[in-house]
Symmetry: none
Subunit: 202 residues, 4 copies
DNA sequence: ACGTGCGGGACCCCCCGTTTGT
DNA sequence: ACAAACGGGGGGTCCCGCACGT
């Protein structure tokens, strides 16, 4: 994914430079001057590379979300069991870890801002949630096949609840500035998993 | 909370009329013209009753949140057990129920918008979260005392996780427009409770 | 037509101050800064009194055109015969007369600018042309009734041709800066009239 | 007018492709992006061949006007009498004829736009009017010499009035969208000519 | 020499939250 | 409580150079 043309490089530069701003201030709350200030480019230049602000916002969202998924995906590759893969979330979002994403989870931020006001963005967020869920379902089903999880595990429900706990932990952690709250919530993921685990020696 | 003076009545009228708008459009996304349009008052009138837009926003947030707490509090009064009281959340946020709050949970909306950009609002949200948690902890501890829940229940953790699941279910439900997702997530609250329940006949 | 409220006075002030600018620079060529510079009001103030720039432009056109019609109408009142009334145009647009309208005839200017680009404005211009023609037709028909003009006079054709000659004289006079050209063209109006006049003594 | 060099060919291509746009939208109303869109060239390329937008506009005007004169000149060659040559205008601008020039008469359009705002363009238009008039004067004088027109015909006045009627008919026709109006006005040209004609048998 | 890609900054219209005079 | 004016900033487009390839 190395950009080749100058245009593509500038596009990429703009996206990388501004993605964090969009995630912190929101897509409506980020102004063009924020973009010009951060990139040290002029409006003319930005509008030469993007149709309008919305296109930058969409690209920034994609970038942010791709970054999160890449980070977590890489950590999952190093895991042996389905359970460990799921628990990656507990590690990556735990409070002793710096938030690897400035401004919090882009999915959370974008979903809340867009759901009532920006249909295009909302659909993109919805698609992201669906994909995330599908991946978790896949991991859980693999666990079932390998005898790690019980046959009657409701993959859908567990997947969605894990996502909900992750997002909830970020939400509450950032709002209250109490990392311990985040950690406690993330710990509940383990409890949910324990409910579908096949207990050895029983 | 009886408004007495004319001023106080107008304040109250403005707040009630605009609280829903703030919750839907966000605090930054709501403009003064939105307020004048909804209240059919003039800008001058609004500025006569409030210092500035922020003060209206804060009052609207308080109003919204108080409304949610009142609704749920009333439903809890009719419950016999601690478990039932907690499960009120599953009922009130379930998808066959119309969202009783237009625009979703004000805590969720405000937290996400304010956490990086508006310290005053963020603190108010943080206080709300703390209060909510404290109430849940109180309910759980009552359950422990009455032998409904196990002695070793981690009230803090369960309380926070319930909140996280509730907010997560709203978040994902609104973003994906799939009510079933919400319901599945809310159902996990029961599972978390089951883990601290004293099982009869055992 | 005395404006009463403050709002109405400011509206009127803006229209009067900017009507000439619109007529000279065209409706697209006139910028908001032109308006603020001329009125010494701020953008906010103008937008407090008008929906948008277009509304100012339309009001300015109406004002300009009304002014022209009033001036000419008044001069016609002092005329005895139908012929004299028509020949008022020759006097009012003659070159020794200063152009009573800065920027030339608003009908001409607006028609040319709007016909391919601005339907609303074009319709307003079309209506103005129709009204002008109707008035001329009325004058001519009166002349016929009074035995001043021949029975077989084609009122429509003469009316339109008089209008065409008037506008043509303005057009060519302004473009070439030769007042004599204007006067020669206007003089042809008399020739057209002579063709429908009842010749005495014959 | 054979373009030889590459540069000259590109210049010509740009002019031909954009002349119609300038005539429809006006010289100020036509943007560089309009030009690049129509020519499928880049801005840089246009600026390589022209000093600036104004130079393109001037060239486009010349091209448009030359085109009109060529068309009418050709039709006049086929005419026997001076009168017929003049009446070519009635035929070419009549409403059953499609306007042979998209956007109307370039002289009319340009004159109105430029007279108060763009001196260079205005002078070019003035020169065009002068030339047009001179040609008509020439035709009329020929008619006088051949005994077609009376000795006392005021060539200047008739020429200018014919031009005024032609432009007026286009103006009113386009603004009101009533072709009949154009035709009635053009018919008055015949009346003006009849006034200077030598009546046979008298 | 010729065409292009890309960046620049001034200006466009409009709406914002706010203050002032009444 | 309101009407009216304010000035700054919102997103977006304008015309135009400059540095690069060919």
């Amino acid at each position: 994914v190395k950009p080749t043309s100058k245009t593509e490089k500038t596009r990429q530069y703009i996206i990388e430079t501004t993605a964090g701003i969009f995630n912190e201030k929101g897509y409506a709350g980020t102004s063009l001057s924020d973009l010009t200030k951060a990139t040290k480019l002029t409006k003319g230049s930005i509008y030469g590379n993007f149709e309008n602000k919305e296109e930058v916002a969409l690209a920034a969202f994609d970038y942010n979300w791709k970054h999160v998924r890449k980070t977590i995906g890489d950590m999952m590759l190093a895991c042996d069991s389905a359970k460990d893969r799921i628990l990656v979330y507990c590690r990556v979002y735990s409070s002793n870890q710096e938030f690897f994403m400035k401004g919090g989870c882009p999915l959370l931020n974008t979903a809340v801002e867009a759901d009532d006001t920006h249909e295009v963005l909302r659909e993109r967020v919805a698609a992201a949630f669906m994909l995330w869920k599908r991946e978790l379902v896949h991991i859980i089903n693999e666990g079932v096949e390998k005898g790690e999880f019980r046959d009657d595990a409701q993959a859908d429900k567990v997947a969605l609840s894990v996502i909900a706990l992750v997002e909830g932990s970020i939400l509450i952690g950032k709002a209250t500035k109490k990392g311990r709250f985040s950690d406690l919530i993330l710990d509940s993921i383990k409890d949910l998993i324990s409910l579908i685990e096949v207990k050895e020696g029983k």
